[in-house]
Amino acid sequence: MSTISHSDMSLLQAMADNELPADQSAALRARFGTEPMLADAFSELAMMRELLHDMPAARPARSLRLDAQTMQQARGWRWWLISPPGGQFLPALGVAACLCVALLFGRGYDQVSAPDQLHLKGSVAAPMLADAPAEAAPADAAAPDTARVADASVPLVAQQPEPSMLPLLGVTAGLVGTVGSARWLMRLRKIQRKAV
């Protein structure tokens, strides 16, 4: 055994695996006649492969099936991404989020711009107040103020508020959320369809 070189051993194993090209295999076999150690080694290798292949199958003494509780505990964050709890409500949640964001930013816009609108539209508001019923005493009291503001020399155009993009951003964010949720749900349905 000690006379067999490492390279010869590799060749013998390649031949045992039927991975040696035909010409090299024939050349190696031709050496078997003059080098009996080589022939013995090949015979032993082939025998060893057969022995390993014929080893009896090992079977577990118990079933390795997983119970429902183990599976539930084993579900990690990847599982949550695939099947989030309450996943069927995601589109509805997306729409609700869209409305919430739009309302939130929309209200903020109204609160900030309301006084400006009052001042700027003084000239318009005055006739409206004049048309109001006579019992609206506070409205009558406010009329001179609005008239004074209207008389101010500040240019009307300069006091107009910047048109805010926030409501638009809110609606866009909500839409993106809705579409994302819908796509997520569609992917889940696709997996389920494939399973069926």
């Binding site: 055994m1 060893m48 492969r49 390993l52 079977r59 079933s63 084993a74």
Partner: protein, 203 residues
């Protein structure tokens, strides 16, 4: 487009929430998984525990599965065995001093015995025990490759996926493993026994 394999269908169903589909995969591969663990660890109880843990790990990471299920699962199993061996510095529990009769009665190795001759049966049992012990004497990387190739019958490509090594490394490890095993078999005078068994079969 190729039709999905039965494994892929079961994986999809499991991902859609069908627990029974995953358990069908468990039943399909539990012998292979356990066999790999048993050959690598040399301990029936530890092998069952590690194989069970590997299935739990496979279920946990099932959403990240890309490609074929079998090599992916076997990679998880091999890694689990490697982790156990490294962390516990586990020594093989099967030794040459083990009573062959105990081995025969172990549920871990249920040999389909077709030999009527009790003497031959004992010789085969001894042979298999010696091979199991010899496997435990070679380095872990080589052992993994030789088990997957020569016992489980996996291709070089599949072994490369399972071990995370390239095919050249797989072949190199396999060559070294077989050379080492051959030395052990020669030292244990295993080949004369095998030749005698073959001769008995022929007569």
């Amino acid at each position: 487009m190729t039709a999905p394999s039965e494994d892929q269908i079961l994986v999809s169903a499991a991902l859609a929430g069908d627990n029974d589909s995953f358990n069908q995969l468990v039943e399909r591969y539990q012998n292979r998984a356990y066999g790999l663990c048993f050959r690598m660890l040399g301990d029936a109880d530890a092998a069952a525990d590690v194989a069970q843990d590997a299935f739990i790990s496979a279920y946990r990471h099932l959403p990240s599965l890309r490609g074929e299920f079998r090599p992916w699962l076997m990679r998880i199993v091999a890694n689990a065995c490697r982790d156990v061996l490294r962390s516990n510095k586990r020594h093989p529990s099967v030794s040459l001093d083990t009573n062959p009769r105990d081995e025969d009665e172990s549920p871990a190795l249920q040999i389909a015995d077709t030999t009527p001759n009790p003497e031959e049966h004992l010789m085969r049992a001894e042979l298999h025990r010696t091979i199991s012990v010899a496997l435990l004497q070679i380095p872990l990387d080589q052992r993994t490759v030789v088990i997957l190739s020569d016992i489980e019958g996996m291709s070089y490509d599949e072994i490369a996926v399972v071990t995370g090594a390239n095919i050249g490394t797989v072949k190199s490890r396999l060559n070294r493993a077989r050379a080492r095993l051959r030395e052990i078999f020669v030292a244990a005078e295993l080949f004369p026994t095998v030749r005698r068994l073959i001769a008995d079969e022929e007569t």
